[in-house]
């Protein structure tokens, strides 16, 4: 198929040798056509920098064995300027790169000449590109390169559900072929059965710590996956506290300094590290081939994600991967059952995709202009060839173009210092200084403002500015498994020193926490609706489920359960309403805010709400009569737009868009030393823009992004539609077992997960249990 010139998707499980497989057609073509020139023959594009080096190493073995003279090199942000220049002069035949470095190559003026003999583009971990701005950027550049020189695309992925989507993404044509080899060996998944009672709430695996440790001891090498960096830090510390067999345990997460991460990765490969506690930073790529056990600590949150993680173990195709799930509370136990079932039935989530974002387009247009002058109509046509942008309308394109040119303000444009100059029908860049700014600011991943963390004379990693800003000198916190005492911030460096003091804060690292997938939430609902008695449960969970049935009920399928109760809180009574949509944290947060507004409209004073992946708990000053009114669909969606404009979350989103689109530059030449990189307060810009230029393209992008990412509008409306006329209200005398878990979180307020809090939680949990038992 590949020989016939079709684009191909190679869908094979990890360990199936798909990466090498993907390179076979290029190697074959290279040999058969006697390709001799020093030119780019194949581009390999991966979402992970680390993967480029790894794949190069793996590829060199067969190439050297076959004694073919193919020059293979990597080009990422780690490549030296010298080597980059050398690669342009004498291009390697196979180049391993990332979407960003590829975009930079595409912005070169000699792009036509550079790729004139290109034959293949390989895109690895294809599924990561469907729903990300990185994927948008990549698709734009692939489409542009195609208009310069036709080539074949080979997409690689281990987890693909929606193969049609994958086909469309890699080329708009209908001729894409799929090669799929799936492992027949199902993974062996077990849920850890602890001797101890599974907590009703919280996210701590402490109850099962010794059992986790004894599992680690059984295997030569293991990965313990957790969901957030904070959990990684805590688990790592607690394991070392009981590590009397001196197992070599390491920690790996995305905030750690690059060298530290690389060191850990190397030590895993060489077998010096026997167990690593990791976040999603180890989800993708890197074929180690020697991991015997994967443990998922905390809920899996998504089936595809779990499959990906399990796939990290045992990279041979004929033996089952072994995985143990460790739920950290009762809800998570049910979620683990659901996830296990889904994996066994190979019932994976459909990949989601997103329409091409216009901030990425703005960045791309600058790149195009730097490379070549262009005609508006031609560029528009070319952009629509990129699948995420197939629906781009001319008006939005023109607005984006005008934004790139002069800022896109209707009354007062920055004509004098425009980025682009018109020459007849052509657009070209006005000032060469734009090239440096573009290069320094390329990319679609905007992180929260980070400070580099320095201890003694070495850097440990990056830490969120807002976390540090909440610390005073002398406060202690954990990072990279070390207990540190905060000293001071100078510029963009936070200084700390090693301490032996207890009671640390844990940086809670926003964003590590994925919401429960729609797919998994459906299965969880199903399990709950069929009553948990049908499932084989550990005793502590049985108790939990019995209590729920005794005092309230489990929601039936398609039923929406609302529980109301009151509790004495000191001298006064608080009214509570617990709802259980099982729709994931993001949806619940939004719903929570909206319902809060509704409660106010009923003339009842709300105190607030807490939400997790399963439920929302509201508290207020007096009983609410009209509960149906609170959840009526039409009104809620109306409220949503009002709420959205006020929420601070949208301002964070606007900051990202302002940076990606190039409204403000994060990095400017000669500006690195000043510390704060973004010189403007984007909150102020957002506000002034809304007031003076409400139809500005950046505001439109922000709203569209917010509907998708912030509130998941589709999921919310589907939910509201689903529950219409299916609301079941249980008026209770006390909190039900389901509601209890949120009561804990309510009392915790700020999720500081240090020892003190856990102690407090356990105490509260025991009190509540006694209360129930006393009945």
């Amino acid at each position: 198929m590949i020989k016939k010139g079709f684009d191909v998707i190679l869908h094979a499980p990890t360990g199936g040798g798909k990466t090498i497989g993907g390179f076979m057609p290029p190697i074959d073509d290279f040999i058969n056509n006697n390709y001799k020139s020093q030119e780019f023959h194949t581009l390999y594009i991966s979402p992970l920098k680390a993967l480029t080096t790894d794949v190069k190493r793996n590829l060199l073995n067969p190439i050297n064995d076959l004694k073919i003279n193919i020059k293979v090199e990597t080009r990422t942000s780690d490549t030296s300027t010298y080597n980059k220049a050398k690669q342009i002069k004498k291009p390697p035949n196979f180049l391993m790169t990332t979407p960003e470095s590829f975009a930079l190559l595409m912005a070169r003026t000699d792009v036509v000449n550079l790729f004139k003999n290109l034959k293949f583009v390989i895109i690895d971990e294809l599924h990561t590109f469907f729903d990300s701005k990185r994927g948008h950027l990549l698709s734009l550049n692939v489409a542009r390169l195609r208009s310069i020189k036709p080539f074949q695309v080979i997409g690689l992925s281990a987890t693909l559900k929606n193969t049609n989507l994958a086909k469309k993404y890699i080329s708009n044509s209908k001729n894409t072929k799929l090669v799929s080899t799936q492992s027949k060996v199902a993974p062996e998944i077990t849920i850890l059965n602890s001797r101890n009672r599974i907590p009703w709430s919280g996210h701590s695996p402490r109850y099962a710590l010794s059992e986790i440790y004894s599992e680690i001891l059984k295997f030569r090498s293991s990965i313990l996956f957790v969901n957030t960096r904070a959990q990684a830090e805590i688990l790592f510390e607690s394991l070392w506290a009981i590590n009397n067999k001196n197992k070599k345990i390491a920690i790996h997460h995305g905030s750690l300094e690059k060298d530290l991460r690389k060191k850990v990765e190397k030590e895993i490969v060489e077998g010096h590290v026997e167990c690593v506690v990791a976040t999603s930073s180890l989800d993708l790529g890197l074929d180690w081939g020697n991991i015997d056990l994967v443990m998922q600590i905390g809920a899996p949150k998504g089936v595809a994600r779990l499959v990906q993680r399990i796939g990290r173990a045992n990279h041979t195709i004929n033996t089952p991967s072994r995985a143990i799930l460790v739920p950290t509370n009762c809800f998570e136990y049910v979620e683990c059952i659901a996830a296990k079932k889904c994996v066994e039935l190979d019932f994976l989530e459909d990949e989601i995709y997103s329409e091409g974002s216009l901030d990425v387009l703005a960045q791309h247009i600058v790149g195009v202009a730097i490379s070549q002058r262009f005609k508006k109509e031609n560029l528009y046509k070319q952009i629509k060839e990129a699948w995420p942008y197939r629906n781009l309308n001319i008006a939005d394109f023109e607005k984006t173009l005008s934004f790139v040119e002069t800022g896109g303000y209707s009354l007062q444009a920055y004509e004098e210092y425009s980025r682009l100059r018109r020459d007849g029908e052509y657009y070209e860049i006005r000032d060469k200084s734009l090239v440096t700014k573009y290069k320094m600011n390329i990319g679609t991943i905007v992180e929260a403002e980070m400070l580099r963390l320095r201890v003694g004379n070495r850097y440990l990693g990056n830490i969120e500015e807002w976390f540090i800003s909440g610390l005073s000198a002398g406060d202690t916190f954990i990072f990279g498994g070390k207990r540190l005492m905060f000293e001071k911030v100078i510029g963009n460096i936070a200084y700390a020193k090693i301490t032996a003091l207890e009671h640390q804060k844990i940086p809670s690292f926003k964003g590590g926490n994925l919401p429960l997938s729609t797919h998994l939430s459906k299965t969880v609902r199903k399990i709950f609706s069929k009553r948990l008695e049908a499932v084989d449960l550990p005793d502590s969970l049985k108790k939990w489920s019995e209590l729920q049935t005794k005092f309230s009920s489990f929601p039936k399928e398609n039923e929406f359960l609302v529980e109301t109760f009151k509790r004495k809180n000191g001298n006064y009574e608080k009214y509570y309403m617990a709802v259980h949509p099982f729709e994931g944290r993001n949806t619940h947060q939004t719903l929570g805010f909206l319902i809060l507004r509704r409660i106010k409209k009923l003339g009842v004073q709300p105190f607030g709400f807490v939400a997790n992946d399963y439920s929302i708990l509201f508290s207020f000053s007096k009983a609410i009569k009209d509960i149906d009114f609170l959840f009526s669909q039409d009104i809620l969606i109306e409220d949503l737009y009002e709420w959205l404009e006020e929420t601070p979350l949208i301002k964070r989103l606007f900051r990202e868009i302002a940076i990606i689109s190039g409204l403000i530059y994060k990095n400017l030449p000669g500006n690195q030393k000043t510390g704060k990189q973004v010189t403007f307060n984007t909150d102020l810009i957002y506000e002034v823009l809304r007031k003076h230029e409400p139809h500005h393209i950046l505001l439109k992008i922000t709203t569209e992004n917010a509907k998708r990412d912030l509130v998941d509008l589709d999921r919310l409306s589907t939910f509201l539609f689903r529950i219409k006329n299916k609301i079941k209200i249980n008026k209770l005398n006390r909190a039900s077992a389901l509601a209890f878990s949120l009561l804990f979180e309510y009392h915790k307020e700020t999720p500081d997960k240090n020892e003190l809090d856990n102690f407090y939680l356990e105490k509260l949990e025991n009190e509540l249990l006694e209360e129930v038992n006393a009945l």
Binding site: G408, Y414, K437, I685, V688
Partner: protein
């Protein structure tokens, strides 16, 4: 409009939540560091910041004037961000600014951003400092005067709310000095803990953070 009254040099002054300093007995308004057209200044480096900062600042100023008797305004320096500010300024903003200059006696104590060449002959008194009743108003602190009101530093302070720090602009006051917050829309700031500000307020002092249209008072003792 939210404000707090203070006694300074035996006179009553009011600190307003938007950063105005008002002297009721003299019907005088003092504002500092407006940095007109800071937003559009960055177009030169291809950053097309929304060019609405000047009009925002001026509307806020007009609003104050319309609601309080103001016979004299002292701009404490850094009125414009750069020498071409007036060239870039939108007609609407210019009209509003010149209307204020026409109707009210306005003085600018020149700051480091102010290029006199471009501020002459527009109906603005230009000077280094204004002294009224022994109080010296100037862009930089007047070290050898007993009472000094000045700007230049754009003081800001970190408030910790829900274990998150947020930075807000503030007035800083002791018995001899008032440090004014910046009145401009896009202007950043310098922490009151920085050495430059600390050495001016070494003994007991008070800060008045401006947050969400309200002004607060914090007393700090050394």
């Amino acid at each position: 409009m939210h404000y707090k009254d203070v006694i300074f040099a035996n006179e009553k002054f009011s600190f307003f939540a938007n950063g105005e300093l008002y002297w009721p007995s003299k019907k005088t308004l003092i504002i500092s560091d407006l940095h007109f057209e800071k937003g559009s200044f960055f177009s030169e480096s291809n950053q097309y910041i929304p060019p609405f900062d000047t009009i925002e600042t001026l509307r806020q100023l007009s609003n104050f004037i319309n609601n309080h008797p103001v016979e004299k305004i002292i701009f404490l320096g850094d009125l414009i961000h750069d020498k071409f500010a007036f060239q870039r300024m939108a007609t609407k903003s210019k009209e509003l600014f010149f209307k204020i200059l026409e109707n009210i006696d306005c003085t600018l104590t020149v700051g480091n951003h102010d290029n006199i060449r471009f501020l002459k002959d527009i109906g603005l008194n230009l000077t280094d400092k204004v002294v009224i009743d022994g109080i010296c108003f100037s862009h930089y602190p007047s070290i050898n005067q007993t009472f000094s009101v000045f700007g230049h530093f754009h003081p800001k302070v970190k408030l910790i709310i829900n274990s998150r720090g947020i930075w807000v602009a503030c007035f800083v006051l002791n018995t001899e000095r008032i440090l004014m917050p910046s009145y401009g829309y896009y202007t950043g700031g310098l922490s009151i803990k920085s050495t430059q500000i600390k050495k001016l307020f070494d003994a007991q002092y008070e800060i008045f953070p401006l947050a969400k249209e309200k002004i607060y008072k914090l007393s700090l003792k050394k």
